[in-house]
Structures are given as C-alpha cells and as structure tokens.
C-alpha cells in the first residue's frame, strides 16, 4: 500500500528531472548563437562529398573505396599537384584506426586551364565532380574514421579566390 501510494510522487519527480536537465541543455546551445563573432561553425563550403558514408568491405583483402566530391558550379579547386608551390593542393586525409590500413590515395587526372588572357600560366584544376580512390585493407570489424578534404576554390573567370577550407566527414567501414 505504502509502495503504491509513493509511486505517484516518484513518477512526478521523474517527470520533473528531465525538464531540469533540458533546461541546462539550453544554455550552451544559446551561447553558440553568437551572431557575427564566430564563423568557425557553419563555415561555407564550396565542395561537397556525394558518396555514402557507410561502406561494407570483404575483410583481409585489398579494396578500393571511391569517394566522389562535387565542386560548386562556376568554381574550381587546385588539383592534388598544382603547378606552383604557393597554390594549395587538394588533399584527402583519413585517420585510419588500428585494423585499417590505407595503402594509397589515388587522385583523378587534373584539367589544364588557361589562367587568364593576359597570362601564359596554366592551372592544374578539378571542376564539377571528381573522385578520389582510397586503397585500403581492413581486418574484420566495424570502424569509424574521420576524413578531411583540404582545398582552395576560385571562380572559373579567375577573378576571385575563396579562402582555403577543410571539408570534414566521417567514414564508417564494416569489414567482414
């Protein structure tokens, strides 16, 4: 009898606690809404990854995972091997966990583009969709790895360049 009658207030308290917890979650979220002072969150990207994030591979055998990236219309990025050491190459890095061995990153063939009507220089670039092949071998298991595509984009009229960006993504690999 005593247990039954105490059940109601206990339930009420259980309802109140999540409310209190939700109240404490509000604060950090609101602090993130600091307009104009912090552009680290939600930085504009000019390249998107269009491949699935989840991959299932045969374990213990060399495999190729192809990641497709898409440059926004009207823009290009430098290839992995630009002609000048000052230009920022497009570079993919993966934090491979123990059990996953990345043997090679294979970048697509670049396009050669005339830089400007007043210049003899040419640029080595990617436009539109470009695939990057990741050669890897994994032991049986489920792995999550952080990927980063570093790039720098300019418009195709060679008029203006955007600052370098790093596109972050997560790749989940199941090897069995």
């Amino acid at each position: 009898m005593l247990r039954r009658s105490l059940l109601i207030p206990i339930l009420l308290c259980c309802c109140a606690l999540p409310l209190l917890a939700s109240q404490s979650q509000w604060q950090p979220r609101d602090k993130g809404m600091d307009f104009g002072s912090d552009n680290a969150h939600g930085e504009k990207q000019w390249v998107q990854m269009e491949s699935p994030q989840d991959w299932t591979l045969p374990a213990g055998h060399p495999q190729i995972v192809v990641l497709n990236f898409q440059v926004d219309d009207g823009l290009h990025v430098n290839s992995h091997t630009p002609h000048s050491p000052y230009l920022i190459p497009t570079t993919l890095t993966l934090d491979a966990p123990a059990g996953v061995h990345v043997t090679k990153m294979q970048y697509p063939q670049a396009k050669e583009s005339n830089f400007h009507s007043t210049s003899k220089d040419t640029l080595s670039i990617y436009t539109g969709a470009f695939p990057i092949q990741i050669h890897m071998q994994a032991k049986p298991g489920v792995y999550s790895m952080q990927g980063r595509l570093r790039y720098q984009a300019c418009d195709n009229q060679m008029r203006i360049c955007n600052p370098p960006r790093t596109l972050l993504f997560t790749l989940r690999v199941t090897a069995k």
Binding site: P9, L12, L19, G36, Y86, I160, C161, P164
Partner: protein
Amino acid sequence: MRAIQIRATQIEVRVKRNLLVVLVLILGITLMLWSGVSAYRERRLALQQAEANHVALVPDNGAGGNPGTVAAADADPDSPAAQGLLDLRGKLAPGFTLKTPDGKKVSLADYKGKAILVNFWATWCAPCKLEMPWLIDMQKQYAAQGFTVLGISEDDPPFAQVSTFAQKMGVNYPVLIGDDAVSHAYGGVDGLPTSYYIGRDGKIVVETAGLVSKSEIEDNIKKILATRED
C-alpha cells in the same frame, strides 16, 4: 480495548503516510512548475538576444546609399554590396597596426595625408599574383604624388613564404601580415583580391572585390589622389 488502540494507531499511521504523500506530490509539482517557468524565461531571454543581433538588409541606393549598410541586391554591379562587400564608402578607413614578415610594425596612421590602396591578397591567390605587377607599376608611377599600396597578406603561417613570394615578384611597397581583427574591421574580407582605395582625408572612396583591369585600378588611384587632406 486493545483492538480499539490498535485501530487508532493504524489510523494515525495512515494519516501520516497520506500527509507524506501529499507533501511529496506538492514538492514534485513545484519542481515541475519551477523548471517550466525557468526554461520559459531562458527561451525568452535567448529570443531577445537574437532579436538584438538581428541585421536588417537595407537596399543600397548606389553611391548615395547609407555607408555601412549591407544591401541584398543592387542595381549597380560595381557597388560594394553587389560585390559582397560591406559598404564603407565615405567612412574613415579602419585603422590598424600590423607587422611585416620580418617583424617591423606598420600602421595605417603612418601614411596620414597620403592616398592609399589597401590590397588584401595571399600567395595562394592566382588573380592576386596577376594584379601584383600592376600594383608595382602604380607604386612606381604615383608614389611621388603621395600614393602608396599597402599589401595585407591573408596567408597562414609560416610567413617566410610571404616574404619570399613578394621578393620574387619584385614588390616595391610594404607587405603586412593580416589578422582576423583587421579583416573583420573591413567587413570580413573573404574573397581575394579585395582592395580599398583610401583618400588623403582617410576616408574610403572605392572598394573592389576580385580582379579588375589595370586601367580600372589606375582610375581609382587617380580618384584618391584627387582628394584633399582635411
């Protein structure tokens, strides 16, 4: 008699138990109400802060528009708003003190009374590289009339490469290492190259984002050379 005593004790225990239940119920309801009211107050405060930070997009009326406003659309394709820049025309150029790659401090105030072209650039910016020889020519041609270019590099460290690049290009004007504060003061310089043409009175006359022709650069320099110091 004994039965009556036992019955009385049972009733007393039940009353106490019910009282306890009521007290816990009241406590629970109070907690819920308090948390609900507090959460509501927090949300209202957040909403007020968000409204306080609200930026109104005001259509720009070309050169006669209010300086400092951001226009979403503009009929003049050469206006700062149409180029994605904050309209700073007619305003005093934000002051700065920056270092050269070799550590020497340079301030905008050091060039008081001069016509100044503040040019944001980077070694990774191909159009910036293209306009650099033009800026070198302008420096040669107009320095004697009280003109200078100040190149602000938006490169990340190491800055030795900025120095090497400038030397290789034959840059004949001061090159400075930019920082976020200066970019922010000039409206958040994003695309490169971006240039601000500052008159002898310290006010911004023209802003350009992206590569423009050599003749347009020269025309803009002539405009700022024609201004008078206050």
